[in-house]
């Protein structure tokens, strides 16, 4: 009994033990690389779809700005909540954070955006501001006249019979320019974000 107690107490007077007890401290834990951190650029080319900004739930967390190398998303620290939605929503994989891109690749999942345009026919007065302001229309028919009337039917929006008509909703990019230019709040764009498994282009 006395012997074992001596052995026990002797342990505390070993120099090595004393040194450890008094001086050793663990370094602050490092964040493992697979943790979701603030998104970083992968170096792939940004095509300015702005899906990252549309998916972002925190105000002012992400911007896509023009640099000499082209468009580039910028994350603002102090606003970003590290949810990783911008990484998932990007169609080109411009951003990366943790294992999100790998997981998306192995699970074959993606976030897909689709847009729906609703025109309230009771409010629409056929002024054509939406059709003239629409940047997609401008690419298809640069000559579109005041009033939103045009001869071609390839357009996204067009005024015919005194009302705004949505012709090709699949061409919409979700910029909501029409919504901002409508004087009567008649047109509204819904951005539908859905998680899809096995995106169609890969099937």
């Amino acid at each position: 009994m006395a012997l074992s107690l001596t052995y026990y107490l002797k342990e505390f007077f070993r120099l090595e033990w004393l040194q450890k007890f008094l001086f050793v401290r663990t370094v602050p834990l490092v964040t493992p690389p697979y943790f979701r951190n603030f998104p970083e650029l992968t170096g792939k080319t940004c095509t300015h779809h702005l899906f990252c900004m549309m998916a972002c739930p925190a105000p002012g967390a992400i911007d896509v700005i023009r640099t000499p190398e082209g468009w580039q998303p910028r994350i603002h620290l102090g606003h970003c909540i590290r949810c990783g939605l911008c990484v998932e929503a990007c169609p080109n994989g411009v951003l990366t954070s943790g294992r999100i891109l790998e997981t998306m690749f192995y699970d074959n999942t993606a976030l897909s955006f689709s847009f729906r345009i609703d025109v309230d026919t009771d409010r629409c007065m056929g002024c054509g501001n939406c059709a003239v302001a629409c940047p997609v229309n401008k690419l298809i028919d640069a000559q579109m006249s005041f009033g939103g009337r045009a001869s071609t039917d390839d357009l996204l929006l067009k005024v015919s019979e005194g009302k705004c008509q949505v012709l090709h909703v699949e061409k919409c990019t979700g910029c909501k320019t029409c919504e901002h230019h409508c004087p009567n709040e008649a047109i509204s764009v819904a951005r539908l974000l859905e998680a899809v498994h096995a995106p169609e282009e890969e099937l």
Binding site: T26, P28, V30, T31, F38, A58, P59, G78, I81, R82
Partner: protein, 151 residues
């Protein structure tokens, strides 16, 4: 530099007393600050002690977007802390208001408008390691040669 000053620098870097104040957060950052106390992160091994009493604190951790109820109170909490002192904003809320910073919300970020903030830890919430390394990085810089700087 006098020997006394050197001793003070050493002691101040080895014993940092922390108080935290929640000025209207969602409790996420509070939990991360409390996680620093857990055995996994164990802030006491670095000489950081949480008393939550401004009278004996060196560092004030400010958590949360600034709600109107704290209008006069945060300033008085800050003035109760004896010099030398520093305030660290923990999380996105005291920096920008984060997701609460919407039109018609009552919050008033950033907290830097109300008290001087010497460091900011972004994240929603920041990880305990990030909070810990911020406290460890700020304390020696702010408290070093305090008496010399005052003169």
């Amino acid at each position: 530099m006098s020997l006394l000053q050197r001793v003070k620098n050493f002691v101040r870097s080895k014993s940092i007393h922390v108080a935290y104040v929640d000025v209207g957060s969602c409790n996420g950052c509070d939990i991360e600050v409390l996680a620093c106390l857990s055995p996994r992160y164990d802030i006491e091994q670095y000489g950081i002690y949480v008393h939550n009493n401004p009278r004996e604190a060196d560092i004030l951790l400010v958590i949360g977007a600034f709600t109107p109820g704290w209008e006069e109170k945060l300033r008085s909490v800050w003035e109760k802390i004896p010099d030398p002192k520093a305030a660290i904003a923990i999380g996105n809320c005291p920096i920008s208001g984060c997701v609460f910073n919407r039109p018609h919300s009552l919050i008033d970020p950033p907290v830097a408008k109300h008290i001087p903030i010497s460091a900011q830890v972004p994240g929603c919430p920041p990880r305990p390691t990030e909070i810990l390394s911020a406290v460890l990085a700020v304390a020696p810089v702010v408290f070093k040669d305090y008496e010399v700087k005052k003169r």
